[in-house]
Each structure stands twice: as structure tokens, then as C-alpha cells.
């Protein structure tokens, strides 16, 4: 059976009618929705359910795939502020770079960014039972990476040069941050600590790296065998020692 494809021209369109058209296409059974001429429209795929694939051509605006539950969004370009914000499940693939707070409070699914991300990437990602969010960044990330992180996996591959983020993992109390290459201790924030990447860990992240490489047409082998720094919470209760009772 042929996959049902719907094409929408977003040129000059406000985000509300654009989202209504995407929603309608998915409700009507489209497997693939191609959105052309996107120029900063926010909230694409916001709260969207199902398992369709949305192709976005252009620059996606803020909160792409926020609260999304199921679909795949592929951005052939850059994305603004907070793609994957509070996302439940599904996948976001960004062929360019993305702004601040990528995958903010994401609780499941995957966000793959080929280029760089801004500040506070993966902030407060969290996991629950089978839901474990994954954020992989091909390029570099900025300061406060993985801040308040409560669960999930965050990988930075540094394909275009080493990452210079500081304040990594401030207040992290769950999950793990894995960065290719060495990370200077001075770049870690209070509450985060470096541990060696074990063979077990390497085996665990291999499928994620293969999937990422596959999505962007990269050779996974050099990435699978590279050196990584693993950053985890120093404590699951970062504030436990701060308070006393009246």
C-alpha cells in the first residue's frame, strides 16, 4: 500500500492554521506530511498524537513538537528555542542547529540534532519506567547542559570540534550525560561528577549512535570506538543537605 502523503505550503501562514492543517492531515490518515516554506512558525507538531512523519522544510520556530506524543518530525533546516519541550514520545530529527533549552523537561522519545544547540540543552529531562528520553547532539552545546537533569540520556558528539560548555549538569539528580572526548573538571557544575565509560555503557549507547549516524548519513564506526566522558549525578538528592526543619 502506498504511504499517504500530504503537502502543505506554509508560506506566510500563521502557526494556528498551519497546525490545524497538520492535525487534520494526520487525523485523515496521512503517513507523511510535508510542510514546505516554513519560516519560523512556532509550535509545529505541538500536542500532536499518532505515528505520522512530518517533514519540515525551512526554519522551525520555537517549541517544535512540544507535548508531542508519537509522531516523527524531521526538520530539514534549523529549529528555534526548545524543540522537544515536555515531549512525551516520538522523535525529532533536526538536520541543522537548534536554539536554547532543547528537549526541556522531555520525558520520552528522541531528539537528534546534527548541528549545535544553545544554552540549557536537555534541561530537566526526566524518566519514568519505560519512558527514557534521549537527546543526541552532533555538534556542540552551550553552558548549563543537562541542568537539573532527572533522567534520560544526553549525548554530545562534538563532530565539528570540541565542546566548550561550562556549568555542565548543575543540579543533575538523575540520568547521564555522555560527551565525546575529555571534559575538563572545571566545566562541571556542582552536583555533577565524571565517571569512566564502561564497556557496558558503550554497548548501551551503541544503538543510539548507530541510529543517529543512520539518520544523518554518517559513518558510525569512528563514533562507536571513540573516547567518551560520562557525567552522572554526584547524588540523587542534591539538596538533601541544605535544609533543616523549624
Amino acid at each position: 500500500m502506498m504511504a499517504k502523503q500530504v503537502t502543505i505550503d506554509a508560506k506566510g501562514m500563521h502557526y494556528t492554521p498551519l497546525n490545524q492543517q497538520i492535525r487534520k492531515a494526520v487525523e485523515d490518515g496521512a503517513d507523511e506530511v510535508v510542510v514546505q516554506n516554513v519560516l519560523g512558525q512556532r509550535f509545529i507538531g505541538d500536542g500532536l498524537r499518532g505515528n505520522a512523519t512530518i517533514h519540515v522544510y525551512g526554519v522551525a520556530g520555537g517549541d517544535l513538537a512540544m507535548f508531542m506524543s508519537g509522531p516523527t518530525v524531521i526538520v530539514h533546516g534549523n529549529a528555534e528555542h526548545a524543540p522537544g519541550n515536555t515531549m512525551d514520545s516520538g522523535k525529532v530529527v533536526i538536520h541543522g542547529s537548534a536554539g536554547d533549552a532543547v528537549a526541556h523537561s522531555m520525558r520520552g522519545g528522541k531528539v537528534f540534532v546534527r548541528g549545535n544547540i544553545g544554552y540549557r540543552g536537555g534541561i530537566h529531562m526526566k524518566q519514568y519506567e519505560a519512558q527514557r528520553p534521549i537527546l543526541v547532539v552532533g555538534g556542540s552545546a552551550r553552558t548549563f547542559l543537562g541542568e537539573y537533569m532527572a533522567g534520560g540520556l544526553l549525548v554530545v558528539l562534538g563532530l565539528d570540534g570540541a565542546m566548550d560548555a561550562r556549568g555542565i549538569g548543575s543540579g543533575i539528580h538523575g540520568g547521564e550525560i555522555i560527551i565525546r572526548g575529555n571534559v575538563d573538571d572545571a566545566c562541571l557544575a556542582a552536583g555533577a561528577k565524571k565517571v569512566p565509560l564502561t564497556d557496558e555503557d558503550r554497548k548501551r549507547i551503541a544503538p543510539v549512535i548507530r541510529e543517529f549516524a543512520g539518520d544523518f548519513g554518517l559513518d558510525p564506526e569512528p563514533l562507536l570506538n571513540a573516547d567518551y566522558t560520562r557525567i552522572v549525578p554526584a547524588s540523587a538528592r542534591p539538596f538533601a543537605g541544605k535544609y533543616t526543619w523549624e
Partner: protein, 505 residues
């Protein structure tokens, strides 16, 4: 020995009148703090564990138990009060921030108590609510700035303006946000049933929506706080409205923190975090670093729910509340909740609880005035909260500019809470601020929901009477009607901020 301070003087002393006591052991069974125990033929008392929750007194069939606060005197001193001295001893011993339960204990004047309500006499007769309707129903949400009308093909005039979704409340008293985790499921279910029965709404707090509350979801306002606990598209769609929590009156400017001990299996499922893990809500929403970002979050929520639900935003009452509220009113929200500095909490740093923020009375009055000045009053409804204690407070808050109020502590008190402020211990003997199954079971939703509904019903009757006496037959005519208030023993500056005349004027 970790300090040389020894033990502090007892906060409370519990005594049993041995003549009256029949040793039924109800006190032993009811006290979850372990004050009472049996030793041979006697019931022994450890007063140090007492929190003054009154559970033992309430369930003693013989009125044999008596409780005394601060039985041991310090040398009296107007500056070095007992509280300041004891805080020093605590911090000298621990070196930590002091956390405390429930609202501010700072002994500051309550402005509500210095505002007198008006009544009609001969120049205008009062309205008799028995005979004439006094309308308390109100709609929360955006109102159009003007109406466009058109004529249809039959020649009838129809409304052309598209109206934003509003919440219809039958009484201007709503139940504020107290999360599952901070309070028990039975406490939440009791309040949800009461909200349904009385035609009002209840906030979920930021703990997600437990499946046990789904039957009442059309009466729930679901909260989105900085931790995003329990937030997904299903949650947003279940709520009658959605509230973004930006601040809390008991602790403005800081986040929240549910300790791992309270994250039981059920709480963990509802919050969608692992059992036993700390639930940390950061101080800011990390996708809101400026007022433009708030607009983005509001619209993200509206877009996700297809613009079908009102979105509220809650801010703590602080110095520039009026400007904050005016800014929030421009962010597409439908209502702004202002939480005064006396607002309750499961736990807040003592220094914030008692020293940060401003009273709800001035915050709501100045916000209402600023919104009117900027021509924005129709854009948002105003909900006042943070120490609304009785129906008169509701009427005064509305006369100062609120559309409705949230109550929190008052609703808990209706279920038995004695405001002992030990919520953080998780041992609430009334089954409210606890997750311990045997304690939660003590709170029967069939009984407690009736008590909460009774309270709302009683306040509604009183509000009707007060309005009738003032000759006001609808809540719209009371809202922002400062002429029906007079300030008694308030200084001129406060009166100016409130825009209220002094008594006699």
C-alpha cells in the same frame, strides 16, 4: 555531642486528666507522632513529639486531654523573641536553611481586618436575598473589548465576535492548587467532589492528575509548573482549564522540592518520576526567561489544546505585582492568579515565608487598578488567594478588584486540619498531608467532601447576605467596587494604594 545547646524548651505540653481518662487508648491509636504509649497500667506522654494537631483531643471520648502551648517561658524580650532565639539555636546546631510548613507566622496586621463593608440604610434600601436574586455566578476568562454584531438572513441580530472560552463558576470561591504528594489522594478526591457539588473548580497543584480524579476532571484546573511533573497532552486535555505556576506567595522567587521520601509508588506514577526520587521544581520555568517567553508557553499550551481551554498564570504578590500582572495580561492568558505573602505551603524556607512578598489585599487592588489604567482589565480575570479565611475576605477581595478567590488552608481546615504546620513530616493524623495508607484511610471522602461543600455553601450564603445588605444584586456590581469598603485604622498611604476611603468619609 553535636552541640552544647541541650534540648529546647517544650513547644507544647500534653496532660491527661487521670480522673477522666478511661484508658481506652484512642489517643495512642490516633497520634501518629508517637506522643502516647502504654506502659503497664499507665498511658505515658512524650510532649516533645506533639505538634498540636489536636487529633488526640478531638477523639478523646472523655475530654481528658489538655494541651498547653509554650509551657516554659524564656526571659521576655521584645527584640529577642522566642522564635528568633530558637531559629538561632537550630541554625547553630545544623548550619542549614530552616524549612517550615503552612503560611506566614509573622505577626503583621491583616489589612482585611481593617476594611469594613458597607450596608444600605434609608437612602437606598437593602436587597432581601430571600425575595430577590443575588447573582454569584461568574465567568472567568477573557471578555471582548467590544462586540461586533451582524444580521443573519432572517433579519435577526447575531453576535459576530468570537468569544474566548471562559470557566463558569457558581460561586466565586474555588479550591486552590495543592498537589497530590503534598496532600493525600483522599484529600484531593474530597475537594474535587465538593467542587463538583458546589459548581466550582479545584486546582491539581503540580503533582499531575491521579486516575482517581478523572471522574471530576471537568472540575479540575490542571497546573503546569517549572518541574512539568505529570504534564503531557492527556493531562492538558483532561483539565477544564490550565494554570501555569510562575510563583507562590509563601515563597516568591524560589522553586519547590518534594522530598524523595514522599514520592511513593502512586505519587511517582502520577508525577511520572521514579519512586523515591526528589521532585525538584526549579525557580524559573527554563523555557521562560523573559515576558515574551511566557507568551510562548501560554500559546504552546493553547495550541496543544486547540484554543479550547482558558489558561491561567499564577504569580506571587511582590513589589511590582501590578506591572507583572499587566505584563502577564498581555501574554494571551485568560486569568491571572495573585498569591499573597500569607499563602500556605507544604514547606517553605522560614525566611521566605515570613519576609518575602506583599499582602494579597494591596496586590490585587494595585493589579486591578493598573489593568484598568492600561485598558487591559477585560483581557484577564483576577483570582486572589493567600489567606482567604472567611466569606468577608472573599467579599473584600472582590471589592478590591478580584473576580474570584482560591482557598487552600480553609478547605484543609474544613477536612480537619488544625494548621499545626507539620505537613512536612508526612505523618498528618487527619489523613491530609500524608501518604501513609493507614493515615490516608482516616479521611473518608464521603464525609470530608460534604464538609468542604458545606463550607463553600455557607460562605456562599454569607456572601449573598452581605451583598444583599449592601444592595448589590450581582457579583459584577461588587467587583472593584471600592466605594463599598472603608479603611479603619489604615494609614493614608495604604488607603491610597487600595484606593479606599477611610471610615467616615
Amino acid at each position: 555531642m553535636s552541640s552544647n545547646l541541650g534540648s529546647m524548651p517544650l513547644r507544647y505540653r500534653v496532660t491527661i486528666d487521670r480522673e477522666q481518662c478511661m484508658e481506652c487508648e484512642r489517643c495512642i491509636n490516633n497520634c501518629s507522632y508517637g506522643v502516647f504509649r502504654r506502659d503497664g497500667d499507665r498511658i505515658l506522654i512524650n510532649s516533645r513529639k506533639c505538634t498540636a494537631c489536636h487529633r488526640c483531643l478531638a477523639y478523646c471520648p472523655r475530654d481528658a486531654i489538655m494541651l498547653e502551648e509554650q509551657p516554659c517561658d524564656y526571659r521576655s524580650h521584645p527584640v529577642w523573641t522566642r522564635a528568633t532565639r530558637e531559629a538561632i539555636y537550630n541554625q547553630a546546631r545544623t548550619g542549614k536553611i530552616i524549612l517550615a510548613g503552612m503560611g506566614s507566622v509573622a505577626n503583621l496586621p491583616v489589612i482585611f481586618d481593617h476594611l469594613m463593608l458597607d450596608a444600605c440604610q434609608v437612602t437606598t434600601p437593602p436587597t432581601d436575598p430571600l425575595r430577590e436574586p443575588v447573582e454569584l455566578r461568574t465567568y472567568l476568562g477573557k471578555k471582548p473589548s467590544h462586540l461586533d454584531l451582524c444580521r443573519n438572513s432572517n433579519g435577526d441580530v447575531e453576535l459576530a465576535t468570537e468569544l474566548a472560552p471562559n470557566l463558569m463558576v457558581e460561586t466565586p470561591v474555588m479550591l486552590g492548587h495543592m498537589s497530590y504528594g503534598a496532600i493525600s489522594l483522599n484529600a484531593q478526591v474530597s475537594m474535587a467532589r465538593a467542587a463538583k457539588e458546589t459548581g466550582t473548580y479545584m486546582g491539581t497543584g503540580e503533582g499531575g492528575l491521579h486516575a482517581g480524579l478523572y471522574p471530576y476532571q471537568d472540575r479540575m484546573i490542571v497546573q503546569v509548573a517549572s518541574g512539568r511533573f505529570g504534564v503531557n497532552i492527556d493531562y492538558l486535555e483532561r483539565g477544564a482549564a490550565i494554570e501555569i505556576k510562575l510563583g507562590q506567595g509563601a515563597k516568591p522567587g524560589i522553586g519547590g522540592h518534594l522530598t524523595g521520601e514522599k514520592v511513593s509508588k502512586d505519587v511517582s506514577r502520577t508525577r511520572m518520576i521514579p519512586e523515591g526520587s526528589d521532585a525538584i521544581s526549579p525557580a524559573p520555568h527554563h523555557d521562560i526567561y523573559g515576558i515574551e517567553d511566557l507568551s510562548q508557553l501560554v500559546r504552546a499550551i493553547k495550541e496543544a489544546t486547540e484554543w479550547k481551554k482558558p489558561v491561567f498564570a499564577k504569580v506571587a504578590a511582590v513589589n511590582n505585582t501590578a506591572e507583572n500582572v499587566a505584563a502577564v495580561a498581555r501574554s494571551s492568558v485568560d486569568a491571572v492568579v495573585i498569591d499573597g505573602f500569607r499563602g500556605g505551603t507544604g514547606a517553605a524556607p522560614r525566611v521566605f515565608r515570613d519576609h518575602v512578598g506583599i499582602p494579597i489585599e494591596v496586590a490585587v487592588a494595585s493589579a486591578d487598578r493598573e489593568l484598568r489604567r492600561q485598558g487591559l482589565r477585560n483581557e484577564v480575570s483576577l483570582i486572589a488567594c493567600g489567606s482567604i479565611r472567611e466569606s468577608a475576605d472573599v467579599v473584600k477581595a472582590i471589592a478590591l478588584g478580584a473576580d474570584a478567590v482560591y482557598i487552600g488552608t480553609a478547605a484543609l481546615a474544613a477536612m480537619g486540619c488544625r494548621v499545626c504546620g507539620n505537613c512536612y513530616q508526612g505523618l498528618c493524623p487527619w489523613g491530609i498531608a500524608t501518604q501513609r495508607p493507614d493515615l490516608v484511610e482516616r479521611l473518608d471522602p464521603d464525609v470530608a467532601s460534604k464538609q468542604v461543600a458545606n463550607l463553600i455553601h455557607a460562605w456562599t450564603l454569607e456572601i449573598t447576605e452581605l451583598m444583599g445588605a449592601a444592595g448589590i444584586n450581582s457579583i459584577e456590581s461588587l467587583r472593584g467596587n471600592r466605594d463599598r469598603l472603608r479603611g479603619y485604622m489604615l494609614d493614608e498611604n495604604i488607603l491610597n494604594v487600595l484606593d479606599v476611603e477611610p471610615v467616615g468619609a
